[in-house]
């Protein structure tokens, strides 16, 4: 609230300072039924700058950008693009005017080649045939000009996630976009890929393109943006110049109060059970000689052994795709190991199914909550039940009285919003969806917690909450295996840190000895 008043002054000042505005949105409101997604939002983006649109999940960032790119019509308010009125236009008009959006979820045809995907809808033809050669050469020259290197003749299915995203950006540029909107582009990228993306975006800015990037990661905002608009509860609450602000100030504007940032908290968190000594009979989780085959039949985990002690957060860092997902799947019972054993405490659970492992004390926050962690069309109450359904049955089937009670308690304890257990999980923001998963996995007895990318795609407030939960689990004597692509998160939370590279642990160090600079080479295999 406090920020709302202060936002108007810098707005008009900025408007006069930078005369050529690429985008000006004024008093934009948008509601879906009773839900007010945007209220009186103001956004001004100067031509040729990188503008960060930040805010918690559900703050209305995506809705605002959908309005800008013509997917939604605003309920009220005006939009100008390069000085021309664009209120209520459709996607075709937006593309024609040079506004292009790269969505969080890729919209590519996996069986078609890069070039075919790019020209889809405006194919160069020779007679009635697709001119494959010209399509590819067009795409190749565009790729070279922008630095978005990708082979136009490969099919999308063969590409890595980072490459597929480059194709999405190319697709928008191919349609002549001069204002590029990127919706949380780094959510799916590994750290080196993020750096590459920054290079590309800076290159585009140098060529005069305007870029709006939606994000809630503060380090990214600081790294890439020139100016910032902060949104909270559907309103624009602050407009800041990146050079003259701090992460603390941005976070405060996002959440509306002071927040303990992960990196600060690390200093104070002297963990009680920091033991860098590996291999003990009392390990909460112990992995011995684990080898796992991947989907293509190749060896993705190679004779891996390690222990997670009770009262310890064991962090696994590393670039994604080095066997972390397979490791988690094997420990959770979702994938079979080729050889090796998994012990929970003293129990050999190698042959256990998912349910028996849960009953043996294993909790699992999966890395992909949309695919694994939640049934999106199930209610909050039903999702809180997932994996525990056998504990809520009676002679007449499921005990819905007890389920409702359980749900009400969990919603309250874990502050899931909106606090209505009968809402479908799909309708919640990312942070609140993750709270459902956390409530389910940490709201029951467990001894070992697998926390995979626990804060991916959630907002600052929820990150703080989730980190506090993980620390509380450690203090309570649980063994926590934290796998995260976010190195700063691993550094902030873990007691011991291993870097996974090509299916092995490239290093295993006490956290006190670790820095990002030290671990970097291990992540890329250089050490």
């Amino acid at each position: 609230m406090s920020g709302a008043a202060s936002s108007s002054a810098p707005l008009s000042a900025a408007a006069e300072a930078n005369a050529p505005l690429a985008v000006r949105m004024r008093q934009v409101c948008k509601h879906f039924g009773a839900v007010q997604a945007n209220r009186d939002v103001n956004l001004e983006v100067a031509a040729g700058e990188i503008h960060a649109l930040v805010g918690e999940n559900g703050a209305g960032k995506s809705t605002l950008m959908h309005i800008l790119s013509g997917l939604h019509t605003p309920s009220s308010g005006t939009i100008e693009v390069f000085g021309r009125d664009a209120t209520g236009w459709d996607t075709n008009a937006a593309i024609a005017a040079g506004v292009g959006m790269v969505h969080q979820h890729f919209m590519l045809v996996p069986t078609l080649t890069v070039a075919e995907n790019l020209v889809l809808g405006r194919e160069p033809v020779r007679g009635i045939q697709l001119d494959q050669m010209r399509a590819e050469s067009d795409v190749r020259s565009l790729a070279e000009r922008t630095g978005l290197r990708v082979d136009p003749s490969r099919t999308i299915a063969e590409l890595s996630v980072g490459e597929a995203q480059r194709v999405e950006i190319l697709k928008v540029l191919y349609r002549g976009a001069r204002v590029l909107v990127l919706d949380e582009p780094t959510a799916v990228l590994s750290p080196p890929e993020v750096d590459e993306l920054w290079t590309v975006l800076r290159g585009l800015r140098a060529q005069g393109d305007t870029i709006i990037i939606i994000t809630h990661k503060l380090d990214e905002v600081v790294a890439i943006s020139d100016t910032i608009t902060v949104m909270r509860d559907g309103r624009s609450v602050a407009r800041l110049a990146t050079a003259s602000t701090s992460p603390q100030e941005i976070a405060k504007a996002m959440v509306g109060r002071d927040v303990a940032l992960a990196l600060d908290a690390r200093v104070g968190s002297a963990s009680p059970a920091t033991s860098a000594t590996a291999g003990s009979a009392n390990a909460a989780l112990s992995i011995r000689g684990l080898s796992v085959l991947g989907d293509r039949g190749n060896l993705v985990i190679d004779a891996l052994s390690f222990d997670v002690q009770p009262g310890e957060i064991f962090g696994i860092a590393g670039v994604e795709g080095n066997g972390q997902s397979e490791l988690l799947d094997v420990i959770a019972g979702l994938r079979r190991a080729k050889s090796g054993t998994v012990h929970l405490g003293n129990a050999d659970v190698t042959a256990f199914d998912v349910r028996s492992r849960a009953d043996a004390g294993l909790s699992h926050i999966p890395e992909d909550r949309h695919r694994r962690g939640l049934v999106l069309d199930y209610s909050i109450a039903d999702n809180l039940l997932l994996g525990q359904q056998h504990h809520f049955s009676n002679a007449m089937g499921l005990d819905y009285g007890r389920i409702a009670e359980h749900a009400a308690t969990q919603v309250r304890t874990f502050d899931i919003r909106p606090p209505n257990p009968s809402l479908a999980a799909r309708t919640l923001s990312g942070g609140n969806q993750q709270k459902i998963v956390i409530a389910r996995e940490m709201g029951r007895p467990f001894t070992v917690l697998l926390a995979a990318q626990p804060t991916r795609g959630v907002d600052v407030g929820a990150i703080e909450f989730i980190h506090a939960q993980l620390r509380a689990a450690r203090a309570d004597g649980k063994g926590v295996l934290l796998v995260s692509a976010d190195l700063s998160e691993v550094l902030a939370l873990a007691d011991r840190i291993a870097v996974m590279y090509e299916g092995r642990l490239a290093c295993l160090l006490p956290a006190s000895a670790c820095t990002a600079e030290l671990l970097g080479p291990y992540m890329t295999g250089a050490a």
Partner: protein, 366 residues
């Protein structure tokens, strides 16, 4: 979805009804146009249609008779659909159920107590349907074979085998049906409600309604139903939740087949008391439409079964004025309208289509 909220029930019912009601309205308009091309007045034709179905006891009896089979085949489709499977095999499962019921009825001694005989025949019908449904279930669970293809093909195989068995070994000479059974008769409604006299309606309709209630309870009030629907919505999340996905598919196909097989007792136990080639031809496929219009919900299926039974009986009633195929067109329009408006139907169809594509390319989404 399953947590009941009193104040929301009316609202949800209204939302659920909107699309089907709209579909019927569109079908009526198309029907008007078609009737006009025959030079008849739509009002007269529709009046006759209603009069011949709900307007007299015989017609209503016939509607109830057809409703019974359609409830069963509708439940069959819906139960598999809730697990994300597209069971197109109700036609064969239904025939197998009727055949098994007749065989048991023929084999039982005349003196078998009526209740025991009916129970045995009913169990046989469900068992035969279940076995027929289990075949595509096993192939899907074990080898990942598309249940769509397998169930379509299995229809031909099952019907051909049954026809062979009847024609070569069991038929009464000069007919396509078996001998009349010794035991296992279910009373017709006409036996105690004189108004229904002459119509084929019989007490198996009660069994069908009970089956619908049981199906509702199984889907929405039990642990296996919770797991079944989770598998249908998001198999990966179900697996994460400790559900054995292939086993759930198999179980869904077995129950799906059992529901379809149950439909066979309508004709065999309640009406003719023998098995006859093609006794319910088309009812299996029409069950898909019933389930889609009923939004894969047992209560919706009862209503949709009544609707489609009314239309097909009404076709006979209006045959003097317009060809009865007019009603087939109405049914088709209802199905198309529902298929294009109801979101879960679209999702189901999309998934059936993408299942084939997914096999070729590796998973490349997010």
């Amino acid at each position: 979805m399953s947590a009941p909220r009193e104040h929301g029930i009316l609202m949800r019912a209204a939302q659920a009804l909107l699309a089907p009601v709209l579909a019927v309205a569109i079908a009526m308009v198309v029907g008007d146009l078609l009737i006009l091309t025959y030079g008849e007045s739509p009002g007269t034709v529709y009046a006759l249609l209603l009069e011949g179905t709900w307007g007299n006891a015989y017609g209503f009896g016939q509607v109830l008779y057809k409703t019974m089979t359609l409830i069963c085949t509708g439940l069959a489709f819906a139960y598999a659909a809730r697990a994300g499977l597209f069971n197109v095999g109700a036609e064969g499962q239904l025939a197998a159920g009727g055949f098994a019921a007749a065989l048991i009825g023929l084999a039982l001694p005349v003196a078998t107590p009526a209740v025991a005989a009916v129970l045995l025949c009913t169990a046989g019908a469900m068992g035969a349907g279940a076995v027929t449904g289990a075949v595509p279930g096993v192939l899907r669970a074990r080898f990942g074979a598309s249940e769509v293809i397998v169930t379509i093909m299995l229809n031909f195989i099952v019907l051909a085998l049954l026809n062979y068995a009847v024609a070569s070994h069991l038929a009464v000479p000069e007919t396509l049906h078996t001998e009349v059974m010794q035991a296992g008769f279910v009373s017709r409604l006409g036996a105690f409600l004189p108004a229904f006299a002459g119509s084929a309606a019989n007490l198996t309709i009660v069994i069908a309604v009970i089956a619908a209630v049981v199906a509702w309870w199984a889907m929405f009030r039990t642990r296996s139903g919770f797991e079944l629907r989770a598998v249908g919505l998001q198999p990966d999340a179900a697996e994460y939740g400790g559900v054995n996905v292939p086993r759930t598919w198999l179980r869904a196909m077995i129950w799906s087949g059992a529901f379809a097989g149950l439909g066979g007792i309508n004709f065999v136990l309640g009406y003719k008391h023998y098995y006859e080639e093609g006794f319910a031809a088309g009812s299996g496929f029409l069950g898909i439409a019933v389930a889609l219009v009923g939004r894969n919900h047992p209560l919706g299926i009862i209503a949709a079964a009544l609707l489609f039974a009314t239309l097909s009986q009404g076709g006979l009633a209006v045959n003097a004025l317009v060809p009865k195929q007019l009603v087939d067109i109405l049914q088709a329009v209802v199905i198309l309208a529902v298929a294009t408006t109801v979101p879960e139907v679209q999702r189901l169809l999309q998934r059936a289509a993408s299942a084939a594509v997914r096999r070729g390319s590796t998973e490349q989404t997010t």
